[in-house]
Amino acid sequence: MWKRFRSNIGAMIGVALLATVIVIALIAPLLYPGGPWQMVQRPFLAPFSVDGLPLGTDTLGRNVAAQLAYGARVSLLVGLVSTLVALLIGVPLGALAGFYGGYVDEGAMRFTEFFQTIPNFALAIVLVAIFEPTLASITLAIAIVSWPPVARLVRAEVMSVRTREFVDAARLAGLSKPRILIQQVLPNTVSPIIVMASLMVATAILLESSLSFLGLGDPNAMSWGYMIGAARTVIRTSWWLSFFPGIAIVITVLALNLIGEGLNDAFNPHLSRKGKA
């Protein structure tokens, strides 16, 4: 499996790109000890016009490169944590629905359907606007709009694993239902969950950046979406202010999508040549 993943060129490019972003995020305080908010030069300096400021300065004379490095921290953190929270909601709900069936399934699926009908970006906006933008409220809002597909996936997987022979064997061996679910069934659903999670981190990063673009970012955290939002009105004169953060988002999201696809191909070799959507 690991071998198949490693021989996938796209996935390896993804790993390299993501590793770069992670390293930059980790060493941001070493590279730019002054932080992302410090004013270092005249405002609106174009890229490469002054030594030491390869990406220029923003509307307040802050170093764009430093802002990008610190923005990586926010994007990765929010993307990762919100995905974990979404898994914490979706996996148990889907597992219970798929394993117990009947009324439990009916109720859980109605609940999931309701959340799937609501336009998720609009719900995220509403949640963050009402609970005031902080890293915690943003992360939670993204998790709340992202869990339904997880629940559906886990439910479907559990339903198919539930009928396999080894589950019957476990039942005959006298294992209790919750133990069968946790020890026998769930471990067999891990690989599709991993694939979905890697793609969810990508979506979460896009969501976070969109929220901060609209001015719903944590005011104490520098993020890529905020940078683009702040530069929106000066796009005619200072294109680089919105260009570079956008590229950073594309690279990170692309890397995660490539990794997700690589994992999917590695887990399902018979589908790999088809390029499943």
Binding site: I118, F121, A122, G246
Partner: protein
């Protein structure tokens, strides 16, 4: 016959969902930090003491929670979405004024993305592994990773600021006084960039889906039969594979409607497109919760209508669904 029953049951479900959203809105208003009356009035400082007193009265904020809930939901049932103190108008009226622009934008983007996505996906699937397939799938992967609003900004920069080909701002030329066909043409020109940038992401989604779906259907037995009959590969793709492969794409497109409406908030913000998404954005800074929640409810209603529409299309395209249901 079964189609009518199906639509009625969908409509019943839709009404229940909207009621649930109205209840959710009510609890969100109460969860917001601060006095609900002040919250309702918005933080713009536009509401004076007397107005807040009126609000308290009207929503019965001194009464038990379930009475308040009844009043709130009862208002929404009568299409009363509250009053925007910030804009000085009822929210329902603000939304009604802006809805046509959003419908124009989202529907145009939807059809562009669906048609182009299916066409490109089908042509990529016919050339699996060849350079043109690789180029198309790589492009789709890139669009898939690009933030909508950033793509929109870059499009403004290139096509409006640098090249000057298309307007990058607004719904029509203000003060030009165009009427009839000239006005339609003017609006059409303003529509090109917003609709394309909103549609590109979804085009990538539908393209990948069509390609995968076509490749999957191509493995099925009836395709072998068609081959054995001596049909040309082109004919097989068009008449046999595409027809069957298109169904999951239509389903997906219906499910994506919510994303499209959400994306419109970003696109409208960038292009100053006077729709409900822009209205929502304008209400954010002022924390005009009545308007924000009103737009939220209406966009959910749009998504539900959209889903019902795709469901009907689906049933018409594939008569087997009716038989199964």
């Amino acid at each position: 016959m079964s189609i009518i029953v199906a639509i009625l049951s969908r409509a019943g479900k839709a009404i229940l969902t909207l009621l649930a959203i109205a209840i959710l809105n009510f609890f969100l208003l109460h969860a917001a930090p601060g006095d609900p009356a002040v919250v309702l009035a918005g933080e713009a400082g536009a509401a004076d003491e007397q107005m807040i007193e009126q609000l308290r009265e009207r929503f019965g904020l001194d009464q038990p929670l379930y009475v308040q809930l009844g009043k709130y939901v009862g208002g929404i049932v009568q299409l009363d979405l509250g009053y925007s103190f910030r804009q000085g108008a009822p929210v329902a009226q603000l939304i009604a004024e802006r809805l046509p622009a959003t419908l124009l934008l989202t529907l145009t983007a939807f059809f562009i993305s669906l048609i182009l996505g299916i066409a490109l996906g089908a042509s990529a699937s016919a050339r699996v592994g060849k350079p043109s397939d690789t180029v198309l799938t790589t492009l789709a992967l890139l669009f898939y990773a690009t933030p909508l609003y950033w793509l929109a900004l870059m499009a403004v920069l290139v096509f409006s600021v640098w090249l000057g080909w298309l307007p990058g701002f607004g719904y029509e030329t203000v003060g030009a006084g165009y009427t009839g066909f000239a006005r339609m043409l003017d609006i059409g020109q303003h529509l090109v960039l917003p609709a394309l940038t909103l549609g590109l992401f979804f085009m990538a989604v539908y393209m990948r889906m069509t390609r995968a779906s076509m490749l999957e259907v191509a493995q099925l037995d009836f395709v072998k039969t068609a081959k054995a009959k001596g049909l040309s590969p082109r004919e097989i793709r068009r008449r046999h594979i595409l027809r069957n492969a298109i169904l999951p794409v239509v389903t997906l497109a219906g499910l994506q409607a919510g994303q499209l409406v959400g994306g419109a908030v970003l696109t409208e913000t960038v292009f100053a497109w006077p729709g409900i998404g822009r209205l929502m954005f304008e209400s954010l800074a002022a924390r005009d919760y009545n308007t924000i929640l009103g737009v939220f409810l209406v966009s959910a209603a749009m998504v539900i209508l959209f889903n019902i529409a795709t469901d009907i299309v689906y049933r018409i395209v594939d008569p087997r669904i009716g038989a199964r249901a």
